[in-house]
């Protein structure tokens, strides 16, 4: 009980403390920016009337973070550091953009196709990281990073050359997609119930995968100890590839949501760094699927809300990123410290008994 409380209270205290310290250093009182973050993301007081557009934006930032985080739980369970997640989101967005630009069909068909294309694009990019790892012996961190760079370059190239805007090519992105290709949303907002549904299904799916299926169990065995899993007859390489494919497909749909549900066009920074943010989310959630829902939402609030800081307080919007980093780092060290004390207590107890 007391350790659980420390686990929760210590990081919170550290975050509040360091946030206050940073803000005092920056020369403002600490309350205003925090209130502005809440106000900018869900309204102040929360969920007031007239804030539906803001809330819609926050939810549509939550969607890609949570989808990517759900995917990352799978790769983390297999013991893989899928830093290539950014590239997988981007390739999903590119594939969805391609469908949105080139295919004409009725809206339901087209939306389904953009989602499928996104999943396929992300899946292939994830598979590539997996193949580099299993067949090429390239550590997934570096294979993934290399493919991230390739994906970013590819996006820039597409935007500046083959998919350049009618008139003049600019790094502000492609032309807006036709209406029929966009994720259906509530009027006046970006909020797309379909995207929310897919995200929740993905999270439940990942939870079931590790709670109720043999596949998930074997995947975890591969992550815990690859050698003994292999000796027990689990085809480890195939499972690793599977993990990358699942994660890539979910990340790719996050990319679709970014392209056809948020920006409505392909832009150079289409991933919004949400892949890296999702890694932080999963580390904070300690690989538990349902915790991804609230933590991703909290991170989305910070991401959307801190953009207000530039406008209103002459404070950098980067404060949000700093807070997220401090939060995860202090949570990790808080939990590590609690575990260390627990081990030490056990050791002392054993020593006394012996």
């Amino acid at each position: 009980m007391s350790t659980r409380l420390t686990n929760l209270l210590l990081p919170t205290a550290v975050v509040l403390g360091s946030a206050t310290g940073l803000l005092l250093l920056a020369g403002t009182n600490p309350w205003d920016p925090l209130r502005l973050i809440v106000e900018g993301s869900i309204g102040w007081p929360p969920f007031e009337e007239g804030t539906s557009a803001k809330i819609g934006d926050t939810v549509m930032v939550w969607v890609p973070i949570a989808l990517a985080a759900a995917g990352l739980i799978v790769t983390f369970s297999a013991g893989m550091w899928n830093i290539g997640i950014e590239g997988q989101i981007i390739l999903g967005a590119i594939a969805a953009s391609w469908v949105a630009r080139e295919v004409s069909a009725s809206r339901p068909v087209l939306v389904a196709l953009t989602l499928l294309a996104g999943a396929a694009g992300g899946l292939l990019w994830g598979l590539l990281v997996g193949v580099l790892r299993t067949a090429g012996g390239v550590n997934e961190i570096f294979g993934g990073l290399g493919l991230d760079f390739v994906a970013v370059s590819l996006t820039t190239y597409l935007i500046l050359d083959p998919w350049r805007r009618s008139g003049v090519a600019s790094t502000s992105g492609t032309d807006i997609f036709p209406d029929d290709a966009l994720l259906p949303s509530l009027s006046g907002t970006r909020l797309s119930p379909l995207a929310i549904l897919i995200t929740l299904l993905a999270i439940v799916g990942v939870w079931i995968l590790f709670r109720g299926t043999l596949y998930g169990l074997k995947l975890k065995a591969v992550g815990r100890n690859r050698r003994s899993a292999f000796l027990m007859g689990v085809p480890t390489n195939r499972y690793l590839l599977g993990a990358f494919m699942i994660c890539g497909a979910l990340a790719g749909m996050a990319g679709t949501s970014q392209a056809t549900g948020f920006h409505f066009k392909l832009i150079p920074s289409i991933s919004g760094n949400y892949g890296f943010l999702a890694i932080l989310v999963v580390l904070l959630a300690r690989f538990r699927a349902f915790w991804v829902i609230p933590i991703s939402f909290f991170f989305a609030m910070i991401a959307v809300g801190s953009s207000q800081l530039d406008l209103r307080l002459d404070l950098s919007s980067t404060l949000g990123g700093v807070l997220q980093g401090v939060l995860v780092l202090s949570a990790m060290f808080g939990m590590g410290w609690a575990a260390f004390r627990a081990r030490r207590k056990i050791a002392a107890g054993a020593g006394g008994a012996g």
Binding site: L22, W81, I83, L132, G136, G137, V138, N139, I141, F142, G143, L145, G146, L147, F149, V150, V152, S153, L154, T156, Y157, L160, D161, T171, F276, I279, L280, L283, S316, T318, L319, G321, V322, Q324, G325, V326, V328, L329, M332, F333, G336, W337, A339, F340
Partner: protein, 325 residues
């Protein structure tokens, strides 16, 4: 096609080679730092962030004091602080090195943007040029090696010193021991974890100095994301270099050559002007595929000399914890 050839030929002109050497200093310090840290068994995955934060610290201190040399110890201090957090988290609290490193990468990157806001676009402070008298007038080599500044000379000396220390001294042997076989090192009376703290800190200091070499020399000045992605290149080059200081240094120079090549290509392929500068990054990753390619290594086994040049085996105990008793 001829554009391609011209761009390639242009890389071998004396001025270009000299500029590659001059531009390599930051990466040389940082790769030596990361190599030392990983040799001791601790992966410092934060490089991309800690190098950037150190680069900012170096610039700020040099800018505020007006003395460029003060920037370097400040940057080194930032690098040491981040490295010690990783070492403490791993050795004392048994946290995952990669996880702590990644979080610190994210945090330091954001911190550098947050704290560096008011220094964007400030006039840069430069490390003064200093030709080595006599040596700098040697044809070709004078221009390439002895026509720079103290930071560049020291970066080359750091490579030599790292190599000599690691492979030619007793303490260097201990450093290898704690990364390869910590149990054996412990049995020989070597304080494994104490030395891991020490070498991670040394590595962090060099990573920090590498950052400052960018903001005070190679790309003097500060802007958002001044050294972005270079830290990841450092991590890739350490693997490419097979955890050997001299090979890693060659990797740094190859990377510089690739950058020069991409720069030379730009006028030939204007539509790719945004894409080409990022190409050395994936190219570096491709190089990793080659040095790790099992079929190739198997074939190389028949040619021990080639194998010894190309192989890339990590320290056995890299990324793991060592618990006494």
């Amino acid at each position: 096609m001829s554009g391609f050839v011209n761009a390639f030929v242009d890389m071998f002109d004396t001025a270009t080679i000299a500029s590659i050497v001059a531009g390599a200093s930051g990466l040389l310090y940082a790769t030596m730092g990361e190599t030392i840290s990983e040799k001791a068994g601790v992966v410092n995955l934060s490089v991309d962030g800690s190098m950037m934060l150190a680069a900012l610290a170096g610039f700020v201190v040099a800018f505020e004091t007006g003395t460029v040399w003060y920037g370097f110890p400040a940057a080194a201090a930032v690098g040491v602080a981040v490295a010690l957090i990783i070492a403490y988290g791993n050795i004392r609290l048994s946290l995952n090195q990669v996880a702590v490193g990644f979080v610190l990468f994210a945090l330091c990157t954001e911190l550098s943007r947050f704290l560096g806001r008011s220094y964007v676009g400030r006039p840069p402070v430069f490390v003064p040029a200093w030709d080595i008298p006599g040596l700098s007038s040697i044809p070709f080599f004078g221009r390439v090696l002895f026509n720079h500044n103290v930071i560049v000379y020291l970066s080359l000396l750091t490579v030599a010193a790292t190599y000599l220390f690691m492979y030619r001294t007793r303490r260097g042997l201990a450093l290898q021991g704690i990364g390869e076989r910590p149990e054996a090192a412990h049995a020989r009376g070597i304080p494994v974890n104490k030395l891991r703290y020490f070498y991670t800190a040394v590595g962090g200091a060099l990573i920090g100095i590498g950052g400052a070499a960018f903001t005070l020399d190679v790309r003097a000045g500060w802007s958002d994301g001044r050294t972005r992605n270079l830290g990841w290149i450092v991590l890739a080059i350490v693997i490419f270099g097979g955890w050997h200081p001299v090979r890693a240094a060659i990797g740094v120079l190859l990377f510089g050559a690739l950058q020069a090549f991409a720069l030379n290509l730009q006028p030939e392929f204007p539509s790719l002007s945004q894409v080409l500068p990022t190409m050395p990054f994936p190219a570096m990753i491709l190089a990793l595929v080659i040095v790790n390619w099992k079929a190739l290594l198997k074939w190389l086994d028949r040619y021990p000399f080639l194998r010894s040049i190309l192989r890339s085996d990590p320290p056995t105990a890299i990324g793991t914890r060592f618990d006494v008793g």
